[in-house]
């Protein structure tokens, strides 16, 4: 039986009060609830304070380049679909630098759980605007306030019929671990946008700001209803819905490769007789 101890406890490089702590706990709880042993899980992360999260638990880890977690995770999942692959990184990594990869990953619908630490600011580089920063948000880099339209990851994902789209808030720990667990259970791309305060660089969207606005979707919200999901996805401001906003049952990308029906690509011998046959076709 897998226990929370199997996932370990480590000293972190995070500021006291950071939302990352709740997220780390939520991730571990979801993995334990799923009974997943650490060596069957691969975390892929990028760059940023959020991207350090996989270093603070026991699992396989590929901590790569800024914005490039999704392609690394895609390659790893295709090489070995038996791995549970989780991408964990921030709003800058997934929505800024890696935006094209997020769009492509949604289109592929590969079975990867993408957990986005969304604190609406760049923390590691000390407080510049992120793609999800609110209009008017002032920083040293945007002294006159952000003028770019806020990126709405939920609306983009729902519009593109992503397999699983959810939002949570680090202030609601049980809700958060449930969203992560359901994201892992979903076969296909699962995007979980997690709102979290940045105690050092975002004094606008603080804990109280989120707490006041986040509300759980009513029980009768039907995540299979795309039009309803689109309406929910557009809701932001005084009230922010959290929960599973949209799901569908598109087959995951890895199921489309006949060669993967025979198991992982790992450890296979080259079929030399067949290669000789292939070579014969050039005669």
């Amino acid at each position: 039986m897998v226990t929370i101890e199997d996932y370990g406890t480590y000293e972190t490089a995070w500021c006291p009060g950071c939302g990352n702590f709740s997220l780390l706990a939520g991730v571990k709880e979801a993995l334990v609830e799923k009974g997943l042993e650490p060596h069957r899980v691969l975390f892929v992360s990028g760059i940023g304070q959020a991207a350090k999260a996989p270093h603070y638990l026991n699992a396989n880890v590929f901590d790569g380049l800024h914005g490039r977690s999704l392609p690394v995770a895609t390659g790893a999942k295709l090489a070995n679909p038996e791995l549970t692959v989780i991408v964990e990184s921030g709003d800058g990594c997934n929505y800024g630098e890696g935006g094209n990869h997020l769009i492509a990953a949604i289109r592929r619908n590969i079975d990867i759980t993408v957990i986005v630490h969304d604190n609406q600011v760049y923390g590691l580089t000390k407080g510049q605007a992120s793609p999800t920063s609110q209009e008017g948000f002032t920083t040293k880099a945007q002294p006159g306030g952000v003028v770019l339209e806020r990126f709405n990851p939920i609306a983009v994902a729902v519009a593109m019929h992503a397999g699983f789209v959810a939002r949570s808030f680090t202030g609601y720990k049980e809700h958060l671990s449930e969203m992560i667990r359901r994201g892992i259970e979903h076969r296909g791309l699962a995007l979980i946008d997690v709102l979290q305060p940045c105690v050092s660089f975002n004094h606008l969207n603080n804990f109280a700001w989120y707490k006041k606005r986040c509300y759980e979707l009513p029980r009768d919200h039907d995540p299979a209803d795309w039009e309803e999901a689109m309406k929910t996805a557009m809701e932001w401001g005084e009230r922010i819905p959290i929960g599973v906003i949209y799901t569908n049952d598109r087959p995951p990308f890895e199921d489309r490769f006949p060669v993967l029906a025979g198991g992982p690509l790992v450890g296979r011998d080259v079929d030399r007789a067949e290669l000789a046959n292939v070579l014969e076709t050039y005669r």
């Binding site: 380049l65 790893a76 090489a79």
Partner: protein
């Protein structure tokens, strides 16, 4: 025709089917036991423009393209205008009588009559060409069956009739025939271009994953892999961009699937951060760079050797690598396999540097003995595993034990940040120093496996020609032409351009009367590299950078 060789150039617009005619005649020749060197020159467009497919053929070993044209098959009038001046003495133009070519050298063909239908004009051209070369009709008929029989069975009767009429018509003009000497070697060879051989070499070495973004002249590598993906158990994915492609390949390799990417200069520029990532995370990766003329978009469909310095230095920070530069289709196969072997054993990025000329150049190749070759085995052969497992453990060779995530209870952790032996990010500067030294230690092993440059001809010659990559055949043929003119000439060819081991070749440079470096670029990148690594300055250069391959004639003309 010079010494039993014949240089056939088929010219026309894109979309006229000249590549199909070219491939068919090439395959007929290979099956009949001839050697070929194909040069494809095309424009970056789907229709129109002016393209050529050149086949140089000989009954004996042949390894270089030629410039002077023995038979020019003009599928349009423009081809005659553009290439008439390139005809060799006694050269023949084959053109539609309707083009009104007023030239004794022209075989004026009533294509409309011979083809019987405009759809069969190319078949008529094939028939005329085969008949001119003295080939039998039967292999040409069989080739038509193979190319069109399944797709267009309803057209086979018309095709065959056009072929028969063309053979008969040409046979009635014996003064125009350019019969090839009989090829005694017989058949038994396969016809492959450089990119197909790279793909086959990768599969033989155990590749399981390839990600790519389409870019000429590299695209035919992933397309060849896709063509055999189900038979050979491969996953090939068209990525959203080259950045994704290289990161996908790194992810697949980390997870245990031997992986590659293939691109050209501009796409490789986008992959460069990934090169550094593979170096830092010590992830095996084979990167094929098929060069075309730059900078930027340059001449997208032509050839050049101007990315040696780029590939050599690509990636921020310091980490070891090897760069192979195949000179023949055979080497495309074997050096790609070698790149996989080194990538796996030394756990990092290894490079195959080819170019458009070699990528598209069909040759007659002795089939590879694929039954007897080795494949890479990720995770096997590394140092013995001790618990706790440390992915980046310090060892004397610099090679750490590599495990595949998910295979054991050991956890595999790596990081693009500087990391501890167990793969977690660190800012401990002593650890940093040890990891740098560990990564660079692998370079000693890689250097120890450097392939010796190939030397041909007498020791201490009057003239030494130095070259690398796809110019091999042209340089060797130029040397033999110069020798035939009484010169004492040797060649020194690099099929691996990094790392360099000066002891292997410096004596060849200092021992020669004159040294000339032959390169398909403007600045002499190999010459600069040799200067940097040995101090030896090669002052004389033959460079070509007009987008066309270096030929023996091109070199000989420039050697005084």
């Amino acid at each position: 025709m010079k010494k039993g060789t014949c240089n056939i150039v088929i010219g026309g617009e894109a979309g006229q089917g000249l590549v199909t005619v070219g491939q068919m005649i090439s395959k007929i020749l290979v099956r009949s036991g001839y050697h070929i060197v194909v040069t494809q020159s095309y424009q970056s467009r789907i229709r129109g423009g002016h393209n050529t497919f050149a086949v140089r053929v000989a009954p004996r070993f042949l390894e270089a393209p030629a410039e002077a044209i023995d038979i020019l098959v003009a599928l349009n009038g423009e081809t005659v205008e553009l290439h008439r001046k390139g005809l060799a003495p006694g050269g023949l133009i084959v053109a539609d009588e309707a083009f009104g070519v007023a030239d004794d050298a022209c075989l004026k063909v009533p294509f409309e009559t011979l083809a019987g239908d405009e759809r069969f004009v190319n078949t008529a051209a094939l028939g005329i060409l085969c008949a001119l070369l003295g080939l039998e009709r039967e292999p040409a008929g069989k080739m038509l069956d193979e190319f069109f029989g399944v797709k267009h069975p309803e057209m086979m009767e018309g095709n065959k009739a056009a072929l028969a009429r063309s053979f008969e018509w040409t046979g009635a003009r014996p003064e125009k025939l350019r019969k090839l000497p009989f090829a005694e070697g017989g058949g038994g060879k396969v016809m492959l271009n450089g990119n197909e051989a790279i793909a086959l070499g990768a599969v033989s070495a155990g590749v399981r994953f390839c990600a790519f973004y389409p870019m000429t002249p590299a695209t035919s590598i992933p397309l060849t892999l896709i063509g055999m993906a189900e038979r050979m158990g491969l996953v090939v994915e068209q990525a959203e961009d080259e950045i994704a492609a290289v990161n996908m390949a790194i992810g697949a390799s980390f997870a245990g699937a031997p992986a590659m990417v293939a691109t050209s200069g501009g796409g490789f520029a986008l992959m460069v951060e990934g090169v550094s990532l593979a170096g830092m995370t010590e992830t095996p990766l084979v990167m094929v760079v098929a060069q075309r003329p730059g900078p930027a978009t340059g001449l997208p469909t032509r050839t050049e050797q101007a990315d040696l310095e780029f590939v050599l230095h690509a990636g921020h920070g310091e980490f070891p690598r090897a760069v192979f530069a195949p000179g023949t289709v055979d080497e495309c196969f074997h050096l790609t396999s070698k790149a996989f072997d080194l990538a796996e054993r030394y756990q990092g990025p290894m490079f195959v540097l080819t170019d458009q000329f070699l990528a598209d150049s069909y040759r007659a190749v002795q089939p590879f003995d694929v039954g007897g070759l080795d494949q890479v085995r990720p995770g096997a052969g590394s140092a013995p595993i001790e618990a706790p497992y440390r992915r980046h453990a310090i060892t004397e060779s610099g090679i750490s034990p590599r495990l595949i995530p998910g295979a054991y209870e050991h956890l595999v952790v790596t990081d693009s940040d500087e990391h501890t032996e167990d793969g977690h990010l660190t800012e401990d500067l002593e650890v940093r120093t040890r990891q740098v030294e560990k990564r660079l230690a692998k370079g000693i092993g890689i250097t120890g496996e450097m392939l010796q440059p190939e030397h041909g001809g007498p020791d201490a010659p009057e003239l030494l020609l130095v070259s690398w990559g796809s110019t091999l055949g042209s340089v060797r043929e130029a040397a033999s032409l110069l020798r035939a003119g009484g010169r004492e000439v040797s060649t020194l060819h690099f099929r691996q351009v990094w790392p360099l081991v000066p002891d292997q070749f410096l004596g060849r440079l200092t021992g020669a009367g004159r040294v000339v470096c032959v390169e398909g670029n403007a600045t002499g990148q190999l010459a600069s590299l040799i200067r940097r690594e040995t101090g030896f300055l090669i002052e004389e250069r033959v460079n070509r950078y007009d987008g066309l391959p270096i030929t023996p004639e091109y070199i000989v003309k420039r050697i005084s």
